[in-house]
C-alpha cells in the first residue's frame, strides 16, 4: 500500500516538474516573442558618430518601448509608460490611454518588426532623431468587441534622449509617408 502510494506520488511529482518545465519554457518563449524585432541602421547618422554602446542600447530600448507601449494600450495602464517614455511621447500616450479608459476602448498591436534608421545625433550626444518603418496589425476593441482590425504599415519620426541608464522615447510622430 505504502509502496504504491510512493510510486504514484513519484509519478505525479515527475509529471508536475515536466509540466512546470514546459510552462516555464513557453512563458520564457512568450516573453522573448513579445519583444519586437528591430533592425537598426546608423550608417547615415550625423553629425556625431554613434558610440558602440549607444548603437546597442538604442535599438534595445526602442524595442522595449514598443513592447511596453503595446502592453499599456492593450491593458490601459499608463504606469507602464514610465519605463521607456518621457516628455511629449509619455504625455500623449497617457492622454490616449486615459481617453481609452473613459470610452471603454482598447488597442492591441501585433508587432511584425521595425526598420529603425538613425538620422541625426546631436554634437553633444543629448538627442537622437530616428526614422522607423514599422509593420503591425492594429485591433481596436470596444468592450471586448473588435471594431477595427487592419494591418498597418507606417513611418514614424522618433526623438530619443538619454536617461540615467537607457535611451527614452521623447517624441514619436507618424508621417504620412511623403518625403519631407
Amino acid at each position: 500500500m505504502k509502496a504504491a502510494a510512493f510510486r504514484y506520488g513519484s509519478i505525479i511529482a515527475i509529471v508536475a516538474v515536466l509540466l512546470l518545465g514546459v510552462v516555464g519554457y513557453h512563458l520564457r518563449a512568450a516573453a522573448e516573442d513579445d519583444l519586437p524585432r528591430v533592425e537598426f541602421n546608423a550608417d547615415n547618422i550625423s553629425p556625431r558618430p554613434i558610440e558602440d554602446l549607444t548603437s546597442k542600447s538604442v535599438p534595445r530600448d526602442y524595442a522595449l518601448a514598443w513592447q511596453t507601449l503595446a502592453q499599456a494600450l492593450s491593458g490601459n495602464k499608463t504606469g507602464l509608460l514610465d519605463g521607456y517614455f518621457t516628455g511629449l511621447a509619455k504625455q500623449d500616450f497617457a492622454q490616449r490611454i486615459n481617453s481609452q479608459i473613459k470610452s471603454g476602448l482598447q488597442t492591441k498591436y501585433t508587432d511584425h518588426g521595425h526598420k529603425l534608421e538613425a538620422i541625426f545625433y546631436s554634437p553633444a550626444g543629448d538627442v537622437m532623431e530616428l526614422r522607423d518603418h514599422v509593420q503591425l496589425d492594429m485591433q481596436i476593441l470596444d468592450g471586448g468587441k473588435v471594431i477595427y482590425d487592419q494591418p498597418v504599415t507606417a513611418q514614424y519620426m522618433v526623438i530619443m534622449t538619454p536617461g540615467a541608464d537607457r535611451w527614452l522615447v521623447r517624441q514619436i510622430q507618424a508621417m504620412n509617408g511623403e518625403k519631407p
Binding site: L53, G87, T161, R170
Partner: protein, 368 residues
C-alpha cells in the same frame, strides 16, 4: 536512601555551579581582577572598555590625576560625530613588548567595527606596578585646543539652481561638469585585479564624481563591473585631482581583454571650506613592520571636520600611478589642531614608490 538523594543532588548542583563558573571565564576574571601581570592589567582594562564600563577602566589607570575621565571616555566613544561615534570595539589583542619588575610595556591592537567598515588602532602602553597590582599608564593628550574666537571664512560656495520639473525639455539647464580620467593602470594582485588612476575636474564648478569600470573578455562580452565606491574623493572643486581605485576581487588579468572606464559627474552645491593641510608626509615602517604613509592633517578653517578620509596615490619614477590606498581617521579634525594619520601600502609596491599625492575627503553631519 532517603538521605542519599538530597546529598547527591547537592553535589551535582555544586559541580554544575563550578563548571558554569569556569565556563563563564571566572578563573580568567579572578586572575584579571588581581591584575597580577602587566598584559593582564591591560586586558582587563580593555575588557571593561569593550563593555562600556569606563569607570572601572578609568580606575585601572596609574596616572588618573593627569587624565581627564571624560577625555579618556571620548577616546573610545568618539566626539563631534567622528567615526568612533558610529563604532564599537569588537575585539582586541594584547601582546607584551617588554616586561620588567616595576615597569613593562604592552602593545594592544584594537579592532573597531564602524559604519564605514573595520578600523584598527595600535597602541603601545606603559604599565606600572603599584603595590600588588599592575596599572596602566595612559598617555596624556596635551593636544592644543583653539581658544574661543571667531574665524572669518570667506571662501567660495557654489549653489545650484537646476531646471524645474515642470520646465520644458528644451529649456536650458546647467550642464554637468566636465571631468576627465587622467590615468588608469591595471595591477594584478595575489587575490584581485586592481585598477588605479586619477581623475581631474576640468570645469569651473564643483563636481560629484564616481568612476566605474567594466571588464570585457576576448569576445567583447562584459563579465564584471565595479565602481570606485569610497576609494575616491567624490566631491571635486574646479581643477582638483583625485586618485581612484577599483577592486575586482578574485579576478585574473589573463581573463581581461579590455576595460571600459566610465566616469560620471554631477553638478553639486559645494563649499571651498574647509581647507585641510596634509603635513609631514613620510613613507615609513610602522611598529608592526608594515609600510605606511604617515602624516598629519590640519583643518585650516573654523569648522569641525567629523570624519576625515585620506586617499593617497603613489607614483613610480615615470610618474605612473602604481597604487592607491585610503584610510579613515578615527578622530575629528578640530580647527587648527593637527591629527596624525597612517595609510598602509603593500611592501612589494612600496619599494617602487617614487612620490605620492594625498587628498583628504571628509564627511560631516551637517554638510553631507
Amino acid at each position: 536512601m532517603n538521605r542519599l538523594l538530597p546529598i547527591i543532588l547537592a553535589l551535582v548542583t555544586l559541580v554544575l555551579i563550578i563548571l558554569a563558573w569556569f565556563q563563564s571565564g571566572g578563573v580568567e576574571r579572578r586572575e584579571l581582577q588581581s591584575a597580577s601581570a602587566p598584559d593582564k592589567a591591560v586586558q582587563l582594562m580593555f575588557s571593561q572598555i569593550k563593555s562600556h564600563n569606563y569607570d572601572a577602566a578609568y580606575a585601572r589607570l596609574a596616572n588618573r590625576d593627569d587624565v581627564d575621565k571624560t577625555a579618556f571616555t571620548r577616546e573610545f566613544e568618539g566626539s563631534y560625530g567622528s567615526l568612533l561615534t558610529y563604532a564599537s570595539l569588537e575585539s582586541f589583542d594584547v601582546s607584551p613588548l617588554h616586561t620588567g619588575d616595576q615597569e613593562s610595556s604592552v602593545r594592544v591592537r584594537l579592532h573597531y567595527s564602524t559604519a564605514l567598515g573595520p578600523l584598527d588602532d595600535v597602541r603601545d602602553l606603559k604599565v606600572q606596578k603599584m603595590g600588588d597590582a599592575w596599572k596602566v599608564f595612559w598617555p596624556v593628550n596635551n593636544g592644543t585646543k583653539l581658544p574661543p574666537q571667531v574665524i572669518a571664512v570667506n571662501y567660495l560656495r557654489w549653489d545650484v539652481i537646476g531646471r524645474g520639473a515642470g520646465d520644458d525639455w528644451g529649456v536650458q539647464n546647467a550642464d554637468t561638469p566636465q571631468v576627465r580620467i587622467l590615468s588608469m593602470n591595471a595591477i594584478q594582485r595575489p587575490d584581485s585585479v586592481v585598477l588605479v588612476g586619477e581623475v581631474v575636474n576640468e570645469d569651473s564648478v564643483p563636481a560629484f564624481v564616481n568612476v566605474g569600470a567594466t571588464l570585457l573578455d576576448a569576445q567583447g562580452n562584459e563579465f564584471a563591473q565595479e565602481s570606485s565606491f569610497d576609494k575616491i574623493a567624490h566631491k571635486l572643486l574646479p581643477k582638483q585631482v583625485t586618485p581612484y581605485r577599483i577592486d575586482f576581487p578574485g579576478m585574473r588579468m589573463e581573463k581581461i581583454k579590455n576595460v571600459r572606464m566610465d566616469v560620471k559627474a554631477l553638478l553639486v552645491a559645494a563649499s571651498a571650506d574647509p581647507v585641510i593641510e596634509v603635513n609631514q608626509q613620510k613613507l615609513e615602517t610602522d611598529p608592526l613592520g608594515k609600510k605606511v604613509l604617515t602624516g598629519e592633517l590640519t583643518d585650516e578653517g573654523g569648522q569641525v571636520v567629523d570624519i576625515p578620509h585620506v586617499i593617497a596615490a603613489y607614483y613610480d619614477a615615470n610618474g605612473k600611478v602604481i597604487w592607491v590606498s585610503d584610510g579613515y581617521v578615527a578622530q575629528p579634525l578640530l580647527p587648527q589642531v593637527p591629527v596624525p594619520f597612517a595609510v598602509d601600502l603593500p611592501p612589494d609596491i612600496a619599494k617602487n614608490v617614487h612620490s605620492y599625492h594625498v587628498v583628504v575627503n571628509h564627511y560631516d553631519r551637517v554638510a553631507s
